[in-house]
Symmetry: C2
C-alpha cells in the first residue's frame, strides 16, 4: 500500500487550488471582497480533512477537490458573516470585509460565497450527490443554529456546561465531522466507517474549540496571533468561565460575579483578578481534563475505523498537531 | 386533455403548503423570524409559475411541490437580506425582521432560509437533480449580482438605460425565468421549450419590474399598498429617472439636475416638480412603451412553446393579470 499524503501536502494543495476557483468578475464590488476573504489564508483544515479521509478509505483524492474547496468556501462564508455579527475589525490580522468595504457588501458577498460553495459541492459523482448534499445542508443548518446559540448565550444570565458543549459542537465541530464524512462518502466507505470518522471529527472539533478557550487566556500571544484574554474582558461565557461559576462559592463566587457585572474596570486589573480566581479553582486543569476526554474519544473513534493502523497515522498526526497548535 | 389549474389554485396551494415546511424549533430566536417572514404572505408568484410550467409540459405538479416551495423560501431569503441592506422598516405593512428582532438575527435567519431552500430544491427526481441545481445556483448568483449592481448604481453618477435593464434582469427577472424552467425540467420538456419558457419569464420579469417603477410614481396608493413616489424622494435611478435624464435638455435638464442634487427640499414640492418634468418629457408613455416591448416579447416566447394554445391560456392569463396588478 503506498504511503498516504501528509496533512501539509493537502493543506498546500488546497491553498494553491482555492486561488483558482472560478468566480465572476463583475460587479467587482461583489467579487473583490470574496477574493480578498479567500486570500486571507488559514489552515485549510476542513478541506484537508476531507481529502485525507477520502484517501484513507481508498478514494482518488483528485476527484474530491471541488467539494473540498466547497467546504472551505462555506467555512469562509460563515467567518465573513460572523465577523459582521461580532463587529470584528480584524480577521487574520487584516481588516474584515465589512470594515474594508461596508456591511451591505459583506452581507451580499457572504451570500454569494455560500452559493459558490453549493456549486462546488455539486461537482461530484452523481451517485454521491444526494447523500453528500443532505449531509452538507444538514451541517450548514447546524452551524447556523450554533452561531445563534452563541449569540443567545450572550444575553442569557446562566448557561450550563452541557449547553455550552452543545453549542460549540454545532458551531465548530460538525463542520469538521461533515468534511471527514464527505471524504468517506466519496470513497464509498461503509456507513459504519462514515459514522466513526464523523464522530472522530465531532469529538476532535469540541476538543479543538475548548482548547481555543484555554489559549485565549493562557496562550502565547505571538504564536496564537491574537491578544490574550479578550474573552475575559468581554465576559464571554467560555468553558473556563462557566466552570469557574460552577466551582466557585463564598467570597470567590462573589468576587467573580463582581468582575463579571462591573461595567467600568481597568483591563489589566480585571484579567489579572479573573486569572487569579481561575488559578485558585484549578480551572485550567479542569478544562484540560475535559479537552483530553474529547480528544481521547476522537482517537477511539479513529481506532474503530476499518482501515490499517499504518494508514491512520496521517489523521492521527493531524489531530495531535492540532492539539499542540503547531499547525 | 383536462383543463389546467388556474394561477389562483397554485397560489393558494403554495400559501397553504409553505406554512408546513419542516423547520427546526430550537433556537427559537433563529426559527421564529423565519416563520414570521414566511407568514407575511405575498403573491407566491414564483412557485406558482414553476407549478404551472410543470403542468403545461405534462408534469404531475404534486411531485414538484418541494422545489416550488424552495423557490419561494429562496425569494423570501433575498427579501430578508435586501431589507437589512435597504434599512427598510416595513415589509408588506409589517415590521421587517431586522426591525422586529435585530440585525444579527436577520442575517443569520436569512442564511438559514437559504440553506432550507437548498434542501427543498434537492427533493426532486434524481434524474433532474444536477440540471435543476445548476440552474438554481446559477440564478442565485445572478440575483446577488443584480442586488450588488443596484447598490452600486446608488453611488454611480451616471447609469445607462441598458445597464439598468441588465440590473433588473438579474435582480428580479431571472428568478421568475428559473422557476418556469425548473417546472419544465421536472416535466422532461425539451431543451428548446426550456429555453422558450425561460425567456418568457425573463421578459415578463423585466416588464413587471419596469411597471413597478411606473406604479411607484403613478400608481393607486391604496391598491399598490405603499406610499407613492418614494423613488423620486430617494433619487432612485429608476427607468423613469434615467429616461428623463436621457431625454431632457436645456432648462428642463437643469431643473431636473437641481432637484436631484438638492439635499433640503419640501417632499410634496419635489414630487410635484419632478412629475411635471416627467409629464413634459412624456416619460410615462416612454416607459409604458418599453414595458409593452418586453411584455409582447414574453408572449412571443410563450407562443413558441410547443404546447397546445388552449393549454397556454393559464400562463397567459397570469402574465396579463400581473401587468394589470390585479393579483
Amino acid at each position: 500500500m503506498p504511503p498516504l499524503h501528509t496533512p501539509a501536502f493537502f493543506q498546500q494543495l488546497v491553498e494553491k487550488e482555492i486561488q483558482h476557483i472560478s468566480l465572476g468578475s463583475e460587479p467587482s464590488s461583489l467579487y473583490d471582497p470574496i477574493r480578498y476573504m479567500i486570500s486571507l489564508g488559514g489552515k485549510r483544515l476542513r478541506p484537508a480533512l476531507l481529502l485525507m479521509s477520502n484517501e484513507l478509505f481508498g478514494g482518488d483524492y483528485t476527484l474530491s477537490l471541488q467539494p473540498a474547496l466547497g467546504i472551505e468556501v462555506f467555512h469562509n462564508f460563515t467567518l465573513l458573516h460572523d465577523d459582521i455579527m461580532d463587529k470584528a475589525p480584524l480577521r487574520r490580522a487584516k481588516s474584515t470585509v465589512h470594515q474594508k468595504w461596508n456591511q451591505n457588501i459583506a452581507i451580499l458577498s457572504g451570500d454569494t460565497m455560500f452559493v459558490k460553495s453549493c456549486q462546488l459541492m455539486t461537482s461530484v459523482n452523481p451517485n454521491h450527490q444526494q447523500l453528500s448534499l443532505d449531509l452538507f445542508f444538514k451541517t450548514a443548518i447546524e452551524v447556523c443554529e450554533g452561531q445563534q446559540l452563541d449569540m443567545d448565550f450572550e444575553q442569557q444570565s446562566s448557561v450550563s456546561i452541557n449547553e455550552y458543549i452543545e453549542m460549540i459542537g454545532l458551531k465548530t465541530a460538525v463542520l469538521l465531522a461533515c468534511a471527514l464524512q464527505l471524504g468517506a462518502i466519496y470513497a464509498n466507505a461503509s456507513e459504519k466507517d462514515q459514522l466513526n470518522i464523523y464522530r472522530f471529527g465531532k469529538n476532535l472539533g469540541i476538543a479543538f474549540q475548548l482548547q481555543d478557550d484555554v489559549l485565549d487566556v493562557y496562550g502565547d500571544e505571538k504564536k496564537f496571533g491574537k491578544q490574550n484574554s479578550g474573552d475575559i474582558l468581554s465576559n464571554k461565557k467560555t468553558f473556563l468561565l462557566l466552570k469557574a461559576f460552577e466551582t466557585a462559592n463564598g467570597s470567590t463566587l462573589h468576587e467573580l460575579s463582581r468582575w463579571f457585572s462591573q461595567a467600568d474596570f481597568d483591563p489589566t486589573e480585571k484579567i489579572s483578578a479573573v486569572k487569579t480566581i481561575y488559578d485558585s479553582l484549578n480551572i485550567k486543569q479542569a478544562t484540560e481534563k475535559e479537552i483530553e476526554k474529547y480528544f481521547y474519544s476522537s482517537l477511539e473513534n479513529l481506532k474503530a475505523v476499518s482501515a490499517p493502523n499504518s494508514q491512520k497515522i496521517m489523521l492521527q498526526a493531524l489531530a495531535i498537531d492540532l492539539m499542540k497548535r503547531d499547525i
